[in-house]
């Protein structure tokens, strides 16, 4: 029988390595395109959003806008108190959340023995990260504003935001601590270091970039938080700068929210400009996190 029979159900085996599609087969191509679309769509939306905000608010994006107090007249209103308020809020939040969050992560990773109690805590920390932020606002209102008599102050706001950030800071810090290999810790112990010396001089320095990345990313999220601050009663119209941690305050997203909810369209322009500023700040925060992470990878891998 002829080996190269013309009638076969199965196509003849071919020795040709080249196919009409080239390297990849057709279904693979389709899947690749779908994935690419999935990537491009949100990216596109983001670009549209930024471009929209930018074109809407462009006329108000001036130095005066950043350095003026709010006003009844849209064209004279600025975001100075909101900007300063947000900055103070972030600093205070960082001061509260970093030591507590890193301390909790250190305890869970380095000291705690495995027990039902610790795994209960662990599960709940991840659950807390998913609690809607307004719940934290209500907690802050009862706990800090009323029970602890902090009033509607910067301190109360920062304490509330800290609650919101703590689960994220703890989880990111634990993640970073876990990247330090056990063998490195054992090397320390074998050199006669105790636990604290090991943590202070080796484990923390090695995981610091990772911890910082987590902190910055969670701060970037906190800077856009509106609901909990409104709940605890941050002001929406502030014509002064905070002079102590007990001052009333406003923050950037609240100022934006306030402007957007006014009927006059002139204020909507201000809101758009405020959004651009807020996005720019978040971009800086995220850029810093990416930079830190890349430095981290270069040094330890």
């Amino acid at each position: 029988m002829n080996r190269a029979s013309p009638r076969r159900d199965v196509p003849p085996p071919t020795r040709l390595l080249k196919t009409p599609e080239g390297g990849a087969r057709a279904p693979e191509r389709v899947f690749e395109v779908i994935c690419l679309l999935a990537l491009m769509l949100p990216l596109l939306l983001l670009v549209v959003l930024i471009a929209q905000a930018f074109t809407d608010g462009r006329e108000r994006l001036t130095w005066e806008f950043l350095t003026s107090y709010p006003s009844r007249f849209a064209s004279q209103a600025g975001i100075l108190p909101a900007l300063v308020g947000s900055a103070c809020l972030m600093m205070l939040t960082a001061v509260i959340a970093i030591p507590i969050g890193v301390g909790a992560a250190l305890y869970l990773e380095e000291y705690a023995r495995e027990s039902r109690w610790t795994s209960f805590i662990e599960v709940n920390i991840s659950n807390l990260a998913g609690v809607p932020s307004i719940i934290y606002g209500l907690l802050g209102l009862e706990l800090f504003v009323r029970a602890m008599r902090m009033g509607r102050s910067l301190l109360a706001g920062a304490a509330t935001l800290s609650l919101l950030l703590l689960p994220m800071v703890i989880m990111a810090s634990r993640e970073a601590l876990r990247t330090v290999p056990q063998s490195t810790r054992e090397a320390c112990y074998a050199l006669g270091a105790d636990r604290w010396q090991t943590i202070r001089r080796v484990v923390l320095p090695m995981s610091l970039p990772g911890i910082l990345t987590g902190i910055i990313l969670s701060l970037a999220r906190a800077i856009g938080e509106t609901a909990p601050l409104i709940t605890i009663g941050a002001l929406t119209y502030v014509a002064f700068l905070p002079d102590s941690v007990y001052s009333p305050f406003t923050a950037l997203p609240i100022q934006i929210f306030n402007w957007i909810s006014r009927p006059q369209t002139d204020f909507h322009v201000n809101a758009a400009a405020g959004i651009v500023v807020l996005l720019a700040i978040m971009l800086v925060f995220n850029g810093a996190a990416i930079w830190l992470r890349s430095r981290f990878q270069r040094r330890f891998s």
Binding site: S183, T184, Y189, A190, L191, R299, F300
Partner: protein, 270 residues
Amino acid sequence: MTRVDRQRAESEAGSSDALASPKMRVEDLRAWFGRSEVLRGITMPVAERRSTAIIGPSGCGKSTFIRCLNRMHEVVRGARTSGRVLLDGEDIYEDGVNPVRLRQLVGMVFQKPNPFPMMSIRENVLAGLRLQGIRPKNRDDLVERALRQAALWDEVKDVLDRSGSSLSGGQQQRLCIARALALEPEVLLMDEPCSALDPIATAKIEDLIHELRKQYTVVIVTHNMQQASRVADYTAFLYLGELVEFGRTDRIFTSPSDPRTEAYITGRFG
């Protein structure tokens, strides 16, 4: 160990100065991971300024045994021990003994080289002191002496500020040895220090052990019998968590008294 073996070991001890007053004595040492007992009552001496090899198939408890000698075993969660380990006659497991202080006297080199990645070569050598917050005055001398002892000085003397992890595997392991030696320990424990290294690096480390045993008490775990016969004065054969046989290396390798030892060194299992 059977009674005959023990008598044999004792008689060897009597005939040899090195075992008459050993640096360390292990007495009925047992070790557990959780509920599983991985060392089942080990008794043996560790001769001073000699090298002792621990051999045996993998999983028999060699690493666990050596980690009991500087109380590194208890660092693992759920791990515990019983029995006594005497260092110069003092039980290291007694209440009140500070494991941290103990580990300064009994240094350790691990299977996988583990220099600190964020420290330079120089800092790695000084790490033991720095970790404890000590800043020695003659730092450069100290670094040079430790690196010379570890036979690494000539290779790294011009690049002391480079990262420790930029070195080759064999160099990293010698850096870890230098790091342990910088603390001037009395005993040096090595857990398969060459298993991650190529033959040339291995030969260097073996030469180094030959030198080190003049000055330090060395305990080395190895699954390589040639290596044990090359570097060790005494050899202990562990099997399934028990000490099957202990004695002078030449005797263990030429006329083992236990059939399991013979089977192992002739390569019939393990």
